[in-house]
């Protein structure tokens, strides 16, 4: 388990670094696919099988492909013209390192930091429990419906914004 986690973590972080530094945007989108796949492996390690499948289907199958389409629709040539990072990139790097340091410091002072995982009750089926929670009126049916309304609104908005009136 620990070996698998460490390999996945290295893959995720290396792919994420390539996403933010790669000058070729198609390559950046493909590195994003690799990072997202690593996150799906983490979900599987955490016994969240449904989320692992959803991660592959929605993030890799839809969002990453949408990114690649957007790159193809907006490029003049495959390579970005000019530098990939703006001229104040070192300030961004500094702020990011500070955020990471601050988060690590805050978390290391929290009492549950090195907690080990809670026992799953025997016969507990996370997928059916998730389905029950999503449609049960005394759980999360309202946020679930609001999320679907949000998706429809975003879809209509995206079509409206990207529609070519000419």
């Amino acid at each position: 388990m620990a070996i698998l986690f460490l390999i996945t973590a290295v893959v995720i972080l290396a792919s994420a670094m390539m996403v933010v530094t790669s000058r070729n945007l198609v390559h950046a989108a493909l590195w994003l696919v690799s990072a997202l796949f690593g996150v799906a492996v983490l979900y599987a390690l955490l016994n969240a099988g449904f989320l692992a499948v959803v991660q592959v289907v929605i993030y890799i199958g839809a969002i990453a492909i949408l990114f690649i389409f957007a790159v193809m629709l907006t490029r003049r040539e495959m390579r970005e013209t000019g530098p990939g990072l703006n001229k104040n990139w070192w300030v961004s790097a500094l702020v990011s390192l500070l955020v990471f340091g601050g988060l690590a410091f805050l978390l290391s002072n929290w009492s549950g930091f090195s907690q080990t995982s809670a026992e799953l009750p025997s016969g507990f089926d996370a997928v059916s429990a998730l389905g029950d929670a999503l449609i049960s009126p005394d759980a999360f049916v309202l946020p679930f419906e609001v999320a679907s309304v949000l998706l429809v609104t975003a879809l209509v908005g995206a079509v409206y914004i990207a529609f070519n009136r000419k």
Partner: protein
């Protein structure tokens, strides 16, 4: 067993890398790629807290699914905006989109 801290540190690192991408990249699509990394870092946290603190309550996973929906909506509208801007201005470099700056 893996302690919770490993997941938290990994997700903090992923969030910071995404933050760097959002602040440092010039291309608007690359900025959206950084936002995706940050949303994934948040999702790792949510699922790890669900598994380590209270796996019987499904709150963490449900929250992660809501984040999926928000990410899908964000990327659809964001890329539509980028494509629309590209059609009108022939550029996707965020620095050059300054017509609302006086």
């Amino acid at each position: 067993m893996i302690p919770l801290s490993w997941y938290l540190i990994l997700s903090a690192a992923l969030f910071s890398i995404g933050l760097f991408g959002v602040m440092a990249r010039r291309n608007a699509i690359a900025i959206l790629l950084g936002v995706e990394l940050m949303l994934n870092a948040v999702n790792i946290n949510l699922v790890a807290f669900w598994r380590y603190l209270d796996p019987v309550q499904m709150t963490g996973q449900v929250f992660a699914i809501i984040v999926f929906a928000v990410a899908a909506a964000e990327v659809a509208v964001g890329l539509a905006l980028v494509i629309s801007v590209y059609r009108n201005r022939k550029t996707v470099v965020a620095d050059e989109l300054d017509m609302m700056k006086w």
